[in-house]
Symmetry: C2
Subunit: 456 residues, 2 copies
């Protein structure tokens, strides 16, 4: 057999790779047959007028990939390939692809305020971490999260949320969903049904579903979920947002908190407390968390920096009760840390140096103003259309209205008006909506409400 | 009843919060009884000599939290609390806590080389993204991953790994484990057994276990896993690392690749290709990936930047076959994006501007040198102790040795000698080890090998 590749000595592709590519193609196409001998390195070097090293490199690569076999003292032979036909060489590109690189003109109403985040300070700390912590950023670090950050988080929630934690209880992760997954691996032997608030945080429900948990939907009233319904469900695990119910915005009163803790204690139950944005309250002060009231080790606390700092930094955390720590220690090495270590180090310095506290004072002012503005405009312009429910905290409004449109019609209409809307419930014509406004600039709020009105 | 709080007007805590804290404590302690009336705002203001606003703020907070009820025209009454006793007020701190803020003196042999990463360029792009993309970083972005990054990743693996992808197929996530979780949610209706390489990548197995998959362990020989054993298992899903088997380092030859693709095609099977560090090869060029050979839409490709760029930036990706895209679209909104959006934007610019290609050329030189150094020293100093298997690619060595110590003894000994060691298998006294060396500086390699020798 004869090798007759077309070699372009001026091409960017090294010559050995051109030769390798040629022989590989001949084998795949069937022009070179199984068990056929190919020329020796010396022969090929001479006929093709290429150096022996070039031929050897090409042959070696073919041997490594298994296209050719090197039988000692006999030479190089074409391997017998399976009859499976490989994909054609046709290149695939994004060019003729439908999705375009344009950004939707939708109101980014679920982001954070553009002026809230002090990028100068964040950049300064980021640069400092990269410069100074060179020995830390080149390895993957603690699977549980950097100890420096866990200490700061524990101090932060103890101070601002009335939690009672030490860093050993904190697990850092890229998003609450990932952390729920880890939690499930710790408890799935003893729990198989998750009670969830209805309406509630769907993204948590999805994770329980993915891990084959059954869901028990517990109705939520003004004072939080119904403990009686919880009791009569067979669930011993409940997911709640007591300090600012998602999406209704209600606060669970102390009496119900105690009842819930009592339920957990007596049933060997577990309470997952999602404390996503409770620190943002416009009147008085945030309602202390459930975790700090718990003396029987029944509460798992979930927190995140997405809402209060920046959604594009993905750092969330979970506080485990002490009784789950031994189990976690034994499973910890199964899960790599999902949050960026650099971001973890930056955030720990950001908290340590007092910038998070300062940031929170700032965003309370910003969002309080935005909140007042939006409720004022709704009352002025759409008083007969919307009733505002729970506007004293958090980053979204709950609105009551009446509409004879279907849910699909409303959703389509919202998209057409560039608004991201979340329909909580529709009973007959009675509609309950949640409306994020945190990402809208103050100047755009009147226009935003105009668009909202058009939907109904 | 009389309120007699001790108010410190000079304290940092606002007066209303001191009053609120005092009344709350009295209620919890039982000094104030259920249904007891507390003084009106006017009365309290007068007896305590505090402004009405201060009293009102304290009372409002107590009402919000449910300690006190405000009955219109009657006044404020203590709520009836459950008998559950709340946690004591004792503060918990990290101070007397066992885990110390010191860093272990262990060789960071599984990180990346300290000189490999160009922090100056990364910082420059990071700062540029924060300055210029202000409108992007304040919201949470595409759940699938930023389109800009997906385009760059797809171009990168098409160019360097022989893959055939478009950005629509790419899903970005913080770590391969998280992405496997998403994949499982797409396929779990049709697949319930995962075939895995033995020895193989344990962290993938854990995720399948967590989602209640059964595992079929398929033995790996020099040319990759046994297709016959795979055929006789009832699994239709297989997890492989064909271009650089983890941990053995072998390359699956083309013939077996075709057989595997044929198996998948004929059994409606799926192949998960983990291509974790195959781009790092010291002789010739990387072996093209399986995904690019597949013409029947059977391969899911997994890649990561942890090994080739920096482990502290948590960005991995998964390439879905087109037949799973519709299903993914319908489930996509269930999962928030776990990778930092800022890092995604920085990385997409890093790739677009050619820095990743430059970085790869650089680390191939760095690791080739390190690889030659470590194999040379092992051959000089421990030739009779270790046999080196597969040293021509990747960031770890596979060593064969003989030891009559137990696995536990060896592991303890490794920890005492500050080495992170992975025992692949021990049959009788025959031991197979994998040894990461990527994070060790060239100067420390002799010392590192000395420590390694001490273990045996």
């Amino acid at each position: 057999m004869i090798l007759s590749p077309i070699i372009d000595k001026k091409a960017n592709t090294p010559i050995y790779m051109q030769l390798y590519g040629y022989i590989k193609k001949e084998i795949i196409d069937g022009s070179l047959h199984a068990n056929e001998k190919i020329p020796s390195i010396r022969e090929a070097s001479s006929t093709l007028n290429l150096s022996k090293t070039t031929i050897e490199n090409a042959y070696n690569q073919l041997v490594i990939e298994g296209y050719v076999e090197n039988i000692p003292k006999k030479g190089y032979f074409v391997s017998k390939l399976s009859n499976y036909k490989v994909s054609s060489n046709k290149k695939i590109t994004d060019d003729n692809f439908s999705q375009k690189l344009t950004f939707q003109n939708i109101y980014v109403n679920n982001g954070v305020d553009y002026h809230s985040f002090d990028t100068v300070i964040w950049k300064r700390i980021y640069n400092k971490v990269i410069n100074d912590e060179n020995s830390l950023i080149h390895n993957s670090g603690d699977f549980q999260g950097e100890l420096l950050l866990r200490k700061e988080i524990s101090g932060f929630i103890n101070r601002t949320r009335g939690a009672k934690t030490i860093s050993e209880q904190i697990i850092v992760g890229a998003g609450v969903q990932y952390l729920i997954g880890i939690l499930i691996s710790l408890i799935k032997k003893d729990y198989s049904i998750a009670a969830v608030e209805d309406p509630g945080f769907k993204k948590a429900e999805y994770i329980f579903e993915d891990y084959n948990f059954k869901l028990a939907h517990i109705p939520v009233y003004n004072s939080g979920l119904s403990i009686d319904t919880l009791r009569s469900s067979s669930s011993k695990l409940v997911y709640v947002s007591p300090s600012h119910q998602y999406p209704l915005g209600s606060v669970m009163p102390i009496n119900k908190r105690l009842e819930l803790l009592d339920w957990a204690f007596k049933n060997n139950g577990l309470i997952i407390e999602d404390d996503y944005d409770s620190i943002i309250r416009y009147e008085n002060m945030p309602v202390p968390c459930l975790q700090g009231l718990d003396k029987n080790d029944c509460v798992i606390y979930l927190g995140s920096f997405s809402k209060i700092l920046l959604p594009s930094i993905r750092i969330s955390y979970m506080v485990l009760p002490r009784k789950l720590l031994t189990k976690y220690s034994s499973l910890k090495n199964r899960y790599t840390q999902s949050a960026s270590k650099i971001d973890q180090l930056v955030l720990s310095n950001f908290i340590k140096d007092g910038y998070l506290d300062r940031h929170l004072r700032k965003i309370r002012r910003i969002y309080k103003k935005k909140n007042q503005l939006i409720t004022k405009i709704i009352e002025e312009k759409a008083n007969n259309l919307f009733k505002i429910v729970n506007a004293d905290s958090g980053l979204h409004l709950v609105l009551e209205t009446i509409s004879n449109k279907s849910i699909n019609e409303i959703n389509d209409c919202a998209v057409n008006n560039n608004i991201s809307l979340n329909i909580i419930s529709k009973k007959g014509n009675n509609l309950l909506l949640s409306l994020n406004y945190s990402g809208i600039s103050d100047e755009k709020i009147p226009e935003f409400i105009e668009s909202l009105i058009k939907i109904f």
